[in-house]
Point group: C2
Chain length 133, copies 2
DNA sequence: GCCGCCCTTTACGTTAACGTAAAGGTCAAT
DNA sequence: ATTGACCTTTACGTTAACGTAAAGGGCGGC
């Protein structure tokens, strides 16, 4: 039942190298338990790694990702911290929404181009047919 | 009426340095005209630069961006090229859609956390009031 | 006891995407 | 003609995010 993993397992699961995982630990983004010297990764560590990978897919730097992840486990005891927290999250969300718009724009253009190509293809096909008939 | 620009203007408009613009040219991503030695940027060049910046916001490497931009001005004369083209665009679109999902996931989580914080804040406020009454 | 496999730390190497500095050309204004 | 504001090329420097190699410990199997 104890859902723990070795570093090699985790690396395989995420398609990265052990070096990369240790590097993220160096950067303070992971804090696996230890069995002697060996690193032991809990489900919680896996979640963190998943968040890191998603951040990378979004084009964030490791530094930005670290900040974001830290957001997830701020202890919500101080009110001023909570306020700042909400503000930071708001900023981040605005950025993400802008990125979403960028993606939608790009997708729109690509669909347009794709259609143009398809139309051109159809034209050429009918021309071919015509030449045979 | 001739909508051309010097390198300095363009840099200011996009919030980047002239070095960066020349760097992109080195990489074959821009091909400004010349007046003697000076670079002259056409509206077309500006569009390209806009595409580059958007690609960067999406976390793409300059190499990926260059490929994508080249997609926009492939000459659609060969049918096999058109087919390949449509395929490549499809792959790119799939990737962008995945990235969109990542963003939506992240936004969802952040909204959840934001709400949690807001609720906590509200709780603390009412507690404060209660202690004063 | 030794082999092979996994793990560890330490440290130098590499690539992308520029930054920064050096050395110089051009042109308008003073 | 010299200053200042641009522009140019060339080239070395820098940072992030790892890769890669060296040197070694722990352990189950033969």
């Amino acid at each position: 039942m104890s859902e723990t993993h070795g570093i090699r397992e985790l690396a395989a699961e995420f398609g990265i190298t052990t070096r990369t995982i240790r590097f993220y630990e160096d950067k303070g983004m992971l804090r696996p338990a230890r069995d002697g010297q060996r690193r032991i990764y809990s489900p919680r560590d896996r979640v963190r790694l998943r968040l890191i990978m998603r951040g990378k897919r979004l084009g964030l730097s490791l530094e930005e990702i670290a900040e974001l992840i830290d957001l997830y486990d701020v202890d919500p005891s101080e009110v001023t911290q909570l306020r700042q927290f909400i503000e930071v999250i708001g900023i981040r969300m605005t950025a993400l929404e802008a990125q979403r718009r960028d993606i939608d724009d790009a997708l729109g253009e690509m669909r347009r181009i794709e259609k143009q190509c398809a139309d051109l293809l159809a034209q050429k096909q009918s021309q071919k047919k015509g030449s045979k008939a």
